[in-house]
Every structure is written in structure tokens, then in C-alpha cells.
Symmetry: C2
Subunit: 238 residues, 2 copies
DNA sequence: CGATACGTTGATCCATTTCAAGATTGGTGG
DNA sequence: CCACCAATCTTGAAATGGATCAACGTATCG
């Protein structure tokens, strides 16, 4: 758990807010990174490749430190692109690094954030390696539902996220045409309905089961340092 | 670059050595992790799922900190399994964490190691999402070649690593039967030959091109803290 | 009211899985 | 040293998943 002093230090460090429009490239691949951002509102994707053959390798939700992979390396191996309009809170990379290295529980919190990201990435690798398209989407939707739950952005019957079928295809490694049919199958099976970014599912367990999803990988040990930071209206897990 | 004092502190911390046989489960998924290990000799894979539907989500080579993802979380979301006989150097998790938090350049080195891992993981996600089987193997072999080069374990014409076709299939998300045909295609194209763990490729550039592999993601910024630690005969990048 | 992006559907071809069987290799005990 | 066993590798044929090409519906927003 973050100590109150650490929490306020972080809130102060991330005081500067910023907005960006849909499709903005927030950080370009291999460009020097000097600021670390917390995603406050909206969604961001990690993208590798150009329009013709772009792949979305991660999806970030409010509360995520989006350019954390650059903390040690100084750059990202991918573009960060806004999925819909976004709001960020920025902090100088140097100052966050110093804070993480000098303050035990902040260092711990940043480690946990980084490694939960790694866990999710491995599960994406799993998803692509093992499942067919309709099960990949089911799994993705299940994972997102849990992650959004953690920051209070999901309802009991579903949630909203501005993804097109093209985006889903880029995430699940299929063509948009096939993604369309995969979504059709989920509807036909009564597992999930996704229209213009609105995800609804009558039976969450059935959806998770179809996507071979188990939520356990999204949780740190109970004794791990995790706290809640407040940014204006929003409170963010960290 | 690691300062000499930091280097000797690490060498002392990882003084305890240990060996394990092929297929040993070194660390089980979701079990508490109290020690962090550097892989000295041999290879280790991160495995999710049982024998029937197991997936290899990462492959670790000498020099890698194999249970680093547990540094913050306290456990791993996957099993660590020896691929062939291995030698490890172990350190208590607490002491490494304290060292990383109190000593700037060690903290930096551990961050870099962790984030290079993350980069590789994203590129695996990419590999599975975009490429067909024969190109996936080509890419995997290219990546491994570079990683082994970094620790002096690859030759000019190839390298050795004890992977069966079943292992390759588990890595590339195919059936072993199809993996066999994919390897056959690489041979037929004159790009790579893999027999009993011996990888040879006459034209490295051609192999990398076929696998759409660019080595840039494997490198940290030049100013990043990277050093070499010596463990008996072996010297390890860090 | 028309652009324009997004979603839907059909037909054909290629990649991959699945089921089934056989060949090669490395090691082990007699 | 040979015979045998078990694991690994190889090959074939049929069925499914997914890509590709092409066309058409349907929002949504100036």
C-alpha cells in the first residue's frame, strides 16, 4: 500500500495534464522518451507497423503508465496511438526514476505496474498461439472487462470502448472481414454483442469460459504495494 | 555501465550456484517466489498450460534473470521449465530488490533487463499475429541468433539449442506436424537447417528478411547502464 | 443529402489442423 | 555389438479456419 506521503508526491509529480485527439501518435517508436504518462481518460494502443500491416500489441486503459517500457531503455519499440480522445498526466522521466529509486513503496508500485503489463503481454502471446479468432475476441473482451472493473469503468452487463472491427482484427491477428464473422459467431452463440464500441454480454462466465480466460493473472499478491491516486475526478490504481 | 563496486556486489549476491536436469520445473506458476536466478548455462522456457495444450510464451538464454517478473508481484503467471540441463545462480529476492532500490546503476540495470524482456515479448505477440508458420520460425531463429551473439554463444554460421520440433511448435503456436513442414520449407528455400538442435543458415540476412526481423528492438540506448558480470567461466551481460 | 468510414455477405484459395501411419534416431540392456 | 525401445521426425489425405477479392448495406456527420 502506498504511504500518504508517496501518494501526494506522485499526485504532485503528475500534475501536468494534457489532451489528444483520436489517432494521435503520442510517442513514436524509437524516439527519445523524456516524459512518463499516466492515462487518465480514454484508451491507447501500442502499435507496430504501418497502416498496411499494423499490429496492435497492447491495449492500455485508464490508470496505466503508458510509456513505462521506456523508463530503462529511453525509447519504445512501438508507437503509442490514441484510440479515441485521451487525457494524460505527464511527469518528467528523470524525476519519476529518481522517485522510484529513492522511495521504496513508489519503486515497488512502479515495478508492479510494469510487471502486470508483462503478465498481460504474455497472456496475449498465449491468446494468439492457442485460440481461434472467435475465442481470441472472447478472451480479449473478458480481459478488458476485468481491467476496466478495477478502475470502475465497467458495468454489470458490459462496458464501452471505442474499438472498430479493424482495431479488433489488429489486436487478434486476423483480417477485419474474418473478425466480422468471429463477432457474428459470438452473437449467434449468445456470448457477446459488440456494436459501435458497446460491449454487452448476458453471461459473463460463459464468455470467459469460451475464451479460456481465468482472471488470476491480473492480480498481484495481496501484500503487494498497491494504492489509489486521485487525479481530479478520476482515481487510478497504482 | 555498471560501476566496479556494483558489479562485485552482484557477483557476491549471486554466489550460490545450482544445477537442474532437463524438464525440471524450476518455479511453478503462482507459487511464492523468494529467490531470483540468473541463467548461467542452458535454456529455460516460460510455459503456460499442461502437456496437452501447453504454450511456450518466452525463451530465456544465459544471462537472463529468469524470475524477474516476480520481483514486484511475488509470483509468476507461468511455469519456468528447463530446456535441457541448466545451471543457475540464485540470490534472495529481498536482497536483490533492496540493492536495486538503493544502488542507482543496479536498479537501472535491472530495469533494462526487465524491459528488454518486455520488448521481446511484444515482438513475440507480433510474430504470432502477423506471420505464417515458416516465417515465425525464421523470425524466432533470427532473434535467438542475436541474443546468443550478445553472450558469445553463437558462431558465424549458426548455433546450438536443444529444442525439439514439439518445442518449436509450442513457441510458434502450431502443431508439431505443421512445424515439421515449416522447417522443411526453410530447408527447401535454403534459408535455415535445424537438426537435433543445431541451427545453421548460409545467409543470415536472407533468413532475417524472410522472418521480417529487424534487430533494432534488442538494443537499449547507448547511454544505458549495461555491464558484464563474470560467473566463473561465464560472463553475462547485465 | 451526399461523402466517407464502418459493417456485412458470398465465393474461392491458401494455411493449418486433424487423424493415421511409417521412418529415423539415440540410448539401453543383453 | 546388436536388438530393441522410446522419442522424435516425416509423410499423406481429408476437413476446418482464415485470407483474399469483390460487392453491397448502413451509420454518421458535415
Amino acid at each position: 500500500m502506498l504511504r500518504p506521503g508517496s501518494r501526494s508526491a506522485l499526485e504532485e509529480l503528475f500534475a501536468e495534464h494534457e489532451s489528444a485527439a483520436d489517432q494521435t501518435v503520442l510517442v513514436a517508436a524509437y524516439a527519445p522518451v523524456t516524459q512518463i504518462s499516466v492515462l487518465i481518460e480514454g484508451y491507447v494502443v501500442r502499435v507496430i507497423g504501418q497502416d498496411g500491416d499494423r499490429t496492435i500489441v497492447s491495449l492500455l486503459v485508464p490508470g496505466d503508465l503508458i510509456d513505462l517500457p521506456a523508463l530503462g531503455l529511453g525509447h519504445l519499440d512501438h508507437d503509442l496511438v490514441a484510440l479515441g480522445p485521451v487525457t494524460l498526466a505527464r511527469a518528467p522521466l528523470d524525476r519519476l526514476r529518481d522517485l522510484a529509486l529513492s522511495n521504496g513503496d513508489i519503486g515497488q508500485a512502479v515495478w508492479i505496474a510494469s510487471q502486470l503489463d508483462g503478465t498481460i503481454q504474455r497472456q496475449w502471446t498465449l491468446k494468439l498461439g492457442r485460440l481461434k479468432a472467435s475465442r481470441r475476441v472472447a478472451r480479449l473482451l473478458s480481459e478488458l472487462w476485468h481491467r476496466l472493473d478495477m478502475v470502475g469503468l465497467a458495468g454489470p452487463d458490459g462496458y464501452h470502448i471505442p474499438m472498430t472491427q479493424q482495431d479488433l482484427a489488429d489486436i487478434c491477428g486476423t483480417t477485419p472481414i474474418h473478425m466480422n464473422r468471429a463477432l457474428g459467431e459470438l452473437r449467434r452463440l449468445g456470448l457477446a454483442d459488440l456494436r459501435r464500441g458497446h460491449v454487452t454480454a448476458p453471461d459473463r462466465d460463459a464468455l470467459e469460459h469460451y475464451g479460456a480466460f481465468r482472471a488470476n493473472y491480473l492480480k498481484a499478491r495481496p501484500d503487494a504495494a498497491v494504492g489509489v491516486i486521485r487525479f481530479g475526478e478520476n482515481h487510478i490504481l497504482m
